[in-house]
Homo-oligomer: 210 residues x 2
């Protein structure tokens, strides 16, 4: 009876889509374990053995999925920079005044810097990387800087931001909003999004009475 | 004749004051060579052999004057933090409105972060240090944070700064003014003092039209 009413048992052999999903899930888990250890201990003090052990696997598993330590680090910062690039593209596509698009981007920028991969972008210095990875890292960061300067230039052009040095303004805003990568502790009194919104409001309004 | 008119030749044996001055000059030269190499190459990529070689001396000379690599790094950040502490004390002692004392400190804070030892304070993560040095480093940094928060609190109290979250404001200002330690290149179009003054003016006035 069971034989006739039970559906076909699932094949013990994963199909192509299942294999791909499994590979992606493994890769994601390895990257998350690595980025958290890099952020907590520093790149130099982190060994791929420790990353692997934290997931109950061995170092060759990391080599297989991600490559060597330099490649793992580059992958981590690429993810963070990809999130920032996406945030810039979405902000740039919005309607409204320049300052509104800029505010939108700045809040997401700050927010990403408080997350695992954005935090790694900020905490990683060129000198930790191979020359080739460092060059690609600098080039990806330059894209984000350019996007921020573009949003600032548009806001100055439509009069919604008053400033005559867009480059220095970009450095000032980015610096203020990079810093949470060093001090923000998840689980503190303020949630990350609230911190991001308040910081951006301070930067836009200034601190002197209006 | 020469014998009667010539002054006593200087002793080839330095006296106590000369020995002390010579020791201080050597120590200063070693610290400057070390901090510049830490800033340029990163702490981990710097060897005391290279620092010593850059001055034509050997590693034991560094051990003699400064101690091991951890102690050299701690000495470098202590100098930067001492400059910041002095700037905070001088600003706090000035007359005038709270915002003027705060502005004064912020400009010097930014300026110090663009110099060798201040730059090292910003670029150094706890994880590069021994646990003992890291604890002392954190404690010295906390003094600067406290001084900044004190200046902010005074400015809020006398109404010259409008903000209801002094702690988050301190992080925001410090972050913006820490960042030049990573991007400011001496010899660029803007002088360091001008950069510091302009950044602080942006932070105080904000960027939205008034």
């Amino acid at each position: 009876m069971a034989r006739t009413t039970t559906a076909e048992p699932p094949s013990p052999f994963p199909d192509r889509a299942q294999r791909l999903a499994s590979r992606t899930a493994k890769r994601d888990a390895l990257l998350l374990a690595a980025v958290r250890m890099f952020n907590e201990r520093g790149f130099h003090a982190t060994s791929l053995d420790d990353v692997a052990a934290s997931l109950g696997v061995s170092k060759p598993t990391i080599y297989h999925h991600l490559g060597n330590k330099d490649q793992v680090l580059f992958e981590c910062v690429s993810i963070g920079l990809g999130q920032l690039r996406e945030a810039a593209a979405e902000a740039a596509a919005k309607p409204g005044r320049g300052i509104d698009r800029l505010r939108d981007f700045l809040i997401r920028y700050a927010r990403i810097n408080m997350d695992d991969f954005g935090r790694c972008v900020i905490r990683t210095g060129d000198e930790a990387m191979s020359p080739d990875s460092a060059a690609r890292f600098r080039s990806l960061k330059r894209e984000i800087d350019d996007a921020l300067r573009g949003l600032i230039a548009e806001a100055i052009a439509d009069g919604s931001v008053v400033e005559d040095d867009p480059k220095l303004l970009a450095f000032t805003l980015a610096g203020a909003l990079n810093w949470p990568a060093r001090w923000f502790a998840p689980g503190g009194a303020l949630r990350a999004t609230e911190v991001a919104e308040r910081m951006v409001a301070m930067l836009i309004a200034g601190i002197a009475p209006r």
